[in-house]
């Protein structure tokens, strides 16, 4: 039952998008978000949407997967849309009972829904096309300058790497504990919210205990393999910018520049 969790899901593939350097992708996501928030009117939104569609097309991720990923966010998206629809002042379009829908409200709600959907889909494209390991490598490499501010960049990325590695292990373990507790008559399916939350305690306690034990053993095993922090460490897979990364940066810059220009002209 827990196998369906899609935290930072990755769809292996061999498209140009997949092969881009993770640092390029991370930076381009930032560019994309800036562009998205700069966009003001139909033309600029259309441009951002077009970019996203092209990226999805090249990456080979199925459109259905993307729609599915938006589903859990449907409530938030609709809620924001409705709020904007009713609470924007301006030229009245329809008016009934105590609420009015204005012309401005309608367009604003539309753009808001579009903006959130594009934001989520765009950032999901990053995790869909980048393996967790190269993603952490990319982050470590981009954040390296922060070391001078005494931020433990290597340690953070190591922690993230280990966390990602243990997600499937701990998921399997949780499944096992749930089965074991069910076999002893634990009831997870009935009762109100409080009762169900309480029912989680007999799952969480053993899970925590075993995680601490795992952490202890892992630490010993890492020490045995000469781990002594990030100092003087080399890497099997060194990140390297290639021609395609330059092209990607160039295209990203063009899109951002166009969106800014369009904003100046109010489009």
């Amino acid at each position: 039952m827990l196998k369906d969790i899609t935290l930072g899901q990755y769809f292996p593939g061999n498209s140009v998008i997949h092969r881009l350097d993770p640092r390029t992708k991370l930076l381009l996501v930032v560019v994309y978000i800036v562009a998205l928030f700069t966009a003001k009117w139909f033309v600029s939104y259309a441009l951002v949407l077009l970019c996203l569609i092209v990226i999805i097309g090249i990456s080979g991720v199925k459109p259905r997967t993307i729609l599915k990923s938006l589903k859990p966010l449907l409530f938030i998206i609709l809620f924001t849309g409705i709020l904007n629809l009713f609470y924007t002042e301006g030229k009245t379009l329809v008016s009934f009972w105590i609420s009015t829908i204005t012309y401005e409200g309608l367009t604003r709600a539309f753009f808001m829904i579009l903006r959130i959907s594009l934001l989520v889909t765009g950032t999901f494209m990053l995790t869909y096309t980048t393996s967790p390991v190269s993603l952490t490598d990319g982050m470590e490499s981009l954040l390296r300058p922060l070391r001078h501010l005494h931020i433990p960049v290597h340690e953070l990325s190591m922690m993230m790497c280990i966390a990602l590695r243990f997600i499937p292990t701990l998921t399997q373990e949780t499944d096992k504990i749930i089965s074991a507790q069910k076999a002893r008559g634990a009831d997870f399916e009935s009762g109100n919210l409080v009762a169900r939350a309480k029912a989680l305690v007999p799952i969480l306690v053993p899970l925590f205990i075993s995680s601490f034990r795992r952490a202890d053993e892992l630490a010993t095993a890492m020490e045995c393999r000469c781990y002594h922090g990030g100092e003087g460490r080399t890497k099997l897979k060194q990140l390297q910018y290639r021609a395609r990364d330059a092209v990607a940066f160039f295209l990203g810059a063009i899109v951002l520049a166009s969106v800014i220009l369009l904003r100046i002209f109010g489009l």
């Binding site: 590695r165 292990t169 399997q172 892992l218 045995c224 002594h228 460490r233 099997l236």
Partner: protein
């Protein structure tokens, strides 16, 4: 004179107690050594100190008295720490808790990366280590999708990538099914025979211990018996007193002897045992 891979002299060690827990004295003046290139099995019941002893071999634990040295390096010398750990690799019981990365080859590369070895050399070592454990075709797999035996072989590869002179394995097969156990044992044997790596195998499987050159039986932090598998396992009564079982073949001959026959107890393999019985009855 042969070089000693590991030598333990007058080792004293106690787990410090807290408010509610008493101090546990594990070793008192223990002497022990391992010859370079040998394959030693350490046997004993749970809590006899065998894992604690193993942790002294690469300075995970330090002696509270006495001296442990590996390849002439004192384990309490902090400057030699990395060299000691590079020399003596260690594999633990649960392969899940030893694997660090989401990709097999990146996990094997972990130790050489820590040692700051150049990239091309890491590549070479990773390929070589995976080749030795026979896992080359899984190098891009995710470890959690492999079987227990395969995961344990990856853990072994992760250790051989350091090119250690000695490997200490702490019950590496305890969590594996019979097939995984066979895979791992074959790998260990090959490491000892082909790569000439000194192996210390901690186990409570008699059949596994029988594969070693030398068997050491421990009880309450002391060495109860020490010798070739044949010498050790023929002391059936002594092992039974320490509540250890003996290999099934020895057990069979032992019981026949109890009923008035006179077999020598040093036939360990099924083949030898069958021959011995055949000779007597033919």
């Amino acid at each position: 004179m042969e070089t000693k891979a590991i030598s333990v002299e007058q080792l004293n060690f106690a787990y410090a107690g807290g408010e509610d827990t008493p101090t546990v004295q594990v070793f008192e003046n223990l002497d022990f050594s391992v010859e370079e290139g040998s394959f030693v099995a350490v046997l004993g019941r749970n809590g006899c100190g065998k894992s604690t002893l193993a942790k002294h071999f690469n300075a995970i634990l330090l002696p509270s008295g006495g001296k442990v040295s590996v390849f002439s390096m004192d384990t309490s010398d902090e400057d030699a720490l990395l060299d000691i750990r590079k020399c003596v690799g260690m594999v633990f019981q649960n392969p899940d808790n030893q694997i660090i990365s989401n990709v097999v080859e990146e996990d094997v590369a972990f130790a050489p990366e820590n040692l700051g070895i150049p990239r091309d050399e890491i590549r070479r070592r990773v390929d070589e280590a995976l080749e030795i454990v026979g896992m080359t075709k899984y190098k891009n797999h995710a470890p959690h999708l492999l079987s227990g035996g395969q995961k344990q072989r990856i853990a072994i590869a992760g250790v051989i990538a350091m090119r250690p002179k000695c490997i200490v394995l702490d019950e590496p097969t305890a969590m594996l099914d019979p097939r995984g156990r066979r895979e791992v044992m074959e790998t260990i044997r090959r490491l000892n025979e082909e790569s000439k790596i000194t192996v210390v195998l901690i186990t409570h499987h008699m059949a596994e211990a029988a594969l070693a050159d030398r068997v050491v039986v421990m009880e309450h932090g002391n060495i109860l018996a020490d010798g070739t598998p044949k010498e050790v396992f023929s002391q059936v009564q002594r092992l039974k007193d320490a509540r250890l079982t003996v290999p099934e073949t020895t057990q069979l001959l032992y019981e026949l002897n109890q009923n008035g026959y006179d077999f020598s107890l040093d036939s360990l393999s099924v083949e030898e045992c069958a021959q011995a019985i055949y000779k007597t009855f033919a």
